[in-house]
């Protein structure tokens, strides 16, 4: 990050200089978190199967893409924000991708984790009463 950018950051954040350094570290933090999220979700569902695993993995992939690729690109200024004076349709498209990725990712990940944690099952499942069938007596049909 160049000196001008730092100066711009400190100007835009007013009298709060430490935040400039946080803003510099933020993309790295986001990348690390996104990659970690994908890896840990994969390790968590490695041994399970079914809906929970697929939903969680797809949510984690969406979030990983969003956090480790898209948000750093936004912070680096390579993607125009919707409020900037750039190409409006491109900015709109990226904005659509962003809000879909982040929110859909959290939704899918949440649903997967909820199924994984048995949230949707009844909290105290009553064991289904199994009626023991009495053994048919040998005299039943003979009389």
């Amino acid at each position: 990050m160049s000196y001008e950018e730092l100066q711009y950051l400190s100007m835009s954040y007013g009298t709060f200089p430490p935040l400039g350094s946080i803003a510099a570290v933020r993309p790295v933090f986001l990348i690390v978190m996104g990659v970690f999220l994908m890896v840990i979700a994969w390790r968590l569902v490695k041994n399970t199967s079914g809906w929970s695993a697929w939903t969680m993995i797809s949510g984690a992939l969406l979030l990983g893409f969003g956090y480790s690729i898209m948000l750093p690109l936004y912070e680096a200024g390579l993607i125009d924000r919707l409020s900037s004076h750039g190409d409006q349709s491109t900015a709109m498209g990226w904005h659509a991708v962003k809000i879909f990725t982040m929110n859909g990712g959290w939704l899918l990940f949440g649903i997967g984790l909820a199924i994984y944690a048995n949230v949707f099952a009844s909290p105290s499942p009553t064991p289904r009463r199994t009626t023991a069938i009495p053994p048919a007596s040998p005299h039943e049909f003979t009389t």
């Binding site: 709060f16 933020r26 933090f29 929110n103 959290w106 939704l107």
Partner: protein, 113 residues
């Protein structure tokens, strides 16, 4: 572009709702996990989800609540808090969820080893 799609995208309310519902599900699932397995990862995940939900609700409400009069009323320290606190909440929330997930996964592996 389709008008309905444009409104849905610009306001983003539907998508924000999706995100908040997902985070709420994560919170509930995390509490359930920590109850079921007695692992600290679940509580950490729940804290992270709550922090992310608070930050998201702030971002939804901020354009309506935070006006110039409001900023003038809370003074310079409050103004810098409105800038610093949401990003801190976002960072800690994400870190909490990832950390909690990692803790839970490691705990599961130790249990089954």
């Amino acid at each position: 572009m389709n008008l309905l799609l444009e409104v849905a995208l610009k306001n983003g309310l539907v998508f924000d709702l999706m995100g908040v519902i997902g985070l709420g599900l994560i919170g509930i699932a995390a509490v359930r996990l920590s109850q079921k397995y007695q692992s600290w990862g679940g509580s950490m995940m729940a804290f992270g989800a709550i922090a992310l939900i608070i930050a998201r609700i702030y971002f939804i409400l901020a354009p309506h609540v935070v006006t110039k009069e409001f900023l003038a009323a809370i003074g310079p320290v409050g103004t810098s808090l409105t800038i610093a606190l949401p990003s801190l909440l976002l960072a800690f929330g994400l870190a909490g969820i990832v950390w909690g997930l990692w803790g839970h996964e490691r705990w599961l592996n130790e249990e089954t080893r």
